[in-house]
Every structure is written in structure tokens, then in C-alpha cells.
Point group: C2
Chain length 227, copies 2
């Protein structure tokens, strides 16, 4: 993860685009809040506009400072269309269902970050290789050096997009339903938390005899961390 020293106490500008209008007390533009959500989620959804129409594509992303990265096939129409285009990249995690006494007060506990910027292809081969290394290492620390090196063809077949975060907001809801004044209505209320975790690894067919799961992956599964 992109740790900062000294701590990053900056904030992204509050713009027309990112001002949190609904439930503003749940919102934040602090770098630390936005980055924490980007870092804890490996999946994001990237929004593009192609010929005036919206497209939302799921992908893995990673972050370095104020830059987010994602990648895909060099033949992807989305990545080709994204060059120099405005993009909205959103990460969302549902932490639980919030069950209240009325349908209206039902909610979800969640963390989401919406970041805006202009996407650019990473052209330089070295830089692209470094970015892909970071993707792998952020997910599986120590793995990169144990892999078969990427061939020139493979690097060429992969497009990496980079976007400086120009505007961003984070929004978080947690805690119980907000309808304590209705606690006498005779229905169970509370939170059903949702947990995502890594479970038993499935070795690939044909692994050489004696090839054990590396300790770093065992630790990752043990920790329950997804990233």
C-alpha cells in the first residue's frame, strides 16, 4: 500500500461534481479517507463516455500517491477510448444491511470513493512494467520476483491507464439504523454485517511435486485481508 510519511493531511477540492449533497455528514474529501477506500478494495468500476453513452466496466485498480492505475488488453475498446478522456472511477464495499422498523429507514453500511480525472496510457515500457509489478505486489507481496518474467509481447499486449485524481469524494455509512425513536415498533432491527474473505486455496492442476503454498499467501489467507 502507498503509505505516506509524513501522513497525508491534504484534501481534494470540493467541486460541483464532488460535493456530497445527500447526507453530507457521511462525506469526506480528505486524501486519507479517499485513499483508504481505494486501497482496501481491489475491484473498481470505471465509467467512460463513448459516443455520448455511458459504459461502466469492472476492473482491478491500484494506487500510487495521487494516481490510480488500471489495466487491460491493448485491444480493449474501453482502454483505447479512454486516452485523454474524463473518467469516473468508483470503488464500493458493502459492509452490511441495515434493517430498520420502516422500509424507508432501511439502509446499507458501506464505504465508497468516487474519483475523477483524465485517463492517460502509460507508454513507456519500463514504467508500464513497474506499474504491473506494483499491481501484483500490492495484492501478493513478494510474488513478482518468483514469476516467469514478462515477455516483450506480453508487455505490448497489456495497456496500463494512469489517472491523476483531480477531484474525489468518499462516503461512509456505518452503525445501527437511525430510527431509535421508533424502537417500540415490534420488529427486529439491527445490522446484518457482510464479510468477504479468502478461503481455502485451490492449487492449479499439474503443480510440480512438493510445491507448497508460499508462506506469504498462507499469511494473507490467515489474515483474512483481501488486499
Amino acid at each position: 500500500m502507498a503509505d505516506h510519511y509524513p501522513p497525508d493531511t491534504g484534501t481534494y477540492p470540493t467541486t460541483e461534481r464532488t460535493r456530497v449533497r445527500r447526507s453530507p455528514k457521511r462525506g469526506s474529501h480528505a486524501h486519507a479517507d479517499v485513499h483508504a477506500i481505494l486501497d482496501v478494495s481491489s475491484l473498481c468500476h470505471v465509467g467512460y463516455v463513448i459516443d455520448g453513452a455511458p459504459y461502466v466496466t469492472p476492473t482491478l485498480h491500484w494506487r500510487e500517491g495521487d494516481y490510480v492505475y488500471w489495466h487491460g488488453s491493448s485491444a480493449s475498446r474501453f482502454l483505447r477510448a479512454a486516452e485523454d478522456m474524463q473518467v469516473c472511477l468508483t470503488c464500493s464495499i458493502i459492509d452490511g444491511y441495515v434493517l430498520a422498523r420502516s422500509a424507508f429507514n432501511h439502509s446499507v453500511n458501506y464505504r465508497s470513493a468516487m474519483v475523477f480525472g483524465t485517463a492517460h496510457l502509460v507508454d513507456d515500457i519500463e514504467e508500464k512494467n513497474d506499474a504491473l509489478r506494483r499491481l501484483i505486489e500490492d495484492l501478493f507481496p513478494g510474488r513478482w520476483d518468483s514469476l516467469r518474467s514478462m515477455t516483450k509481447q506480453e508487455v505490448k499486449a497489456t495497456s496500463v491507464m494512469r489517472m491523476k485524481i483531480e477531484e474525489a469524494s468518499a462516503k461512509i455509512r456505518n452503525g445501527p439504523p437511525g430510527d431509535v425513536d421508533e424502537a417500540d415498533h415490534p420488529v427486529w432491527a439491527g445490522v446484518l454485517p457482510i464479510e468477504s474473505r479468502l478461503v481455502s486455496p485451490q492449487p492449479a492442476p499439474g503443480l510440480p511435486d512438493g510445491m507448497e503454498l508460499p508462506q506469504s499467501l498462507a499469511d494473507l489467507i490467515q489474515s483474512g485481508r483481501l488486499r
Copy 2:
């Protein structure tokens, strides 16, 4: 869930917008495949175009036949902007990380559905109420009738969007890494599956004495189903 009888064997048209170009063997336009992903995921990401720029917002959705629904505050700028607009709604579930012998062959096991259409507000009060009932009942069967009824103000404060699915594609990857020909490279390869589940419920503060978790919610948690 919206079950079909007889089974829905239809397919959405393969259009320029939805043709699965990358790894087409992973793609499908079958109603059954698209609907299964929409139904198993409660979270979606909706893409709007406002003043030419993309916005991707997370929300809960639900489905009835060929229609998807989502909702929010009537004051939401996204919902207000969405009326009669083209929308892309995407659901994605990561089922596991796929670790290969080379960085290039790393992947994720996933299920995603991308659906396109034109969004419309549900204006009729009765219809809106029915739609919200379905949202609650799809998630928590039997709950609606135990709730305090919605007030007129609450129904008014809630906007429900409906969209007929005009075009759609599903994309699924599962199984081990695809690089068996490199099995002699000395690194562990395989899948790290990801599991999401409901865990111990957290009762709201102030629940009346003796208010137990309903059996239907206990069953839901026991089943591990998220929806």
C-alpha cells in the same frame, strides 16, 4: 427472485455495444445468464452522463422480468438527471484471484453483467410502493408486512427508477490459471477463492425486551446467501 415458468430461454441482441470482444468464450447474451448475475448481486454501479462527463454511482438494484430497478432520494441529482437518459448498469462479483506462473496470466474469477437501457422514474404511488416492497422482499423474504407502513412523505421522498433491459451481456471467468504449459516454472499457482457472507447480526440499541431475530433472517444468515 424473479423465477420464470416456463424457463426464459431468450437472448438479448448482440449489438455493437454489447458484443463481447475480449475472450468472447466467456461472454453470453442469454437472459438466464444476465439475470442470474443481476439477481445474485445486490450492489450495482450505475453509469450516467451529465454534461458530457461520466458518473458512476453504487446502489442496490432489483429485477422483475426484463426490468431493473434502483432507488434513492428524490433530491438526488443522479436520479433526477437519469430520467429518459441512457444508462449502463453493471454488476460484478469477484469469486477469486487467479495466480499464474507469469504476471501476464494472472486473472480473476468473476461474474459480471452489463445492461443498457433508458431510465424512467416510476411516478405512480402504488407502483412505487410495490417496487419498494419487492426490494425489501427480495432481500429479506417476509419482512415487508412486519414493518411500520411507509408514510406518504416517505414515498414522496423516495425516487424509484425503472429501466427495460434493451441490450445486455454477461461475462464469466472461472477455473484455474490457463498456463498449464508452464507448470514446470517453480512457483505456486492456483486460485484463491473469495467468499462473501452474512455474519453475526448486531441488534439495534433499544430493541424491546424479548425481541428475537426472526427465523427468516436466522435462516438467511445460516444459508450464507447474500440475496
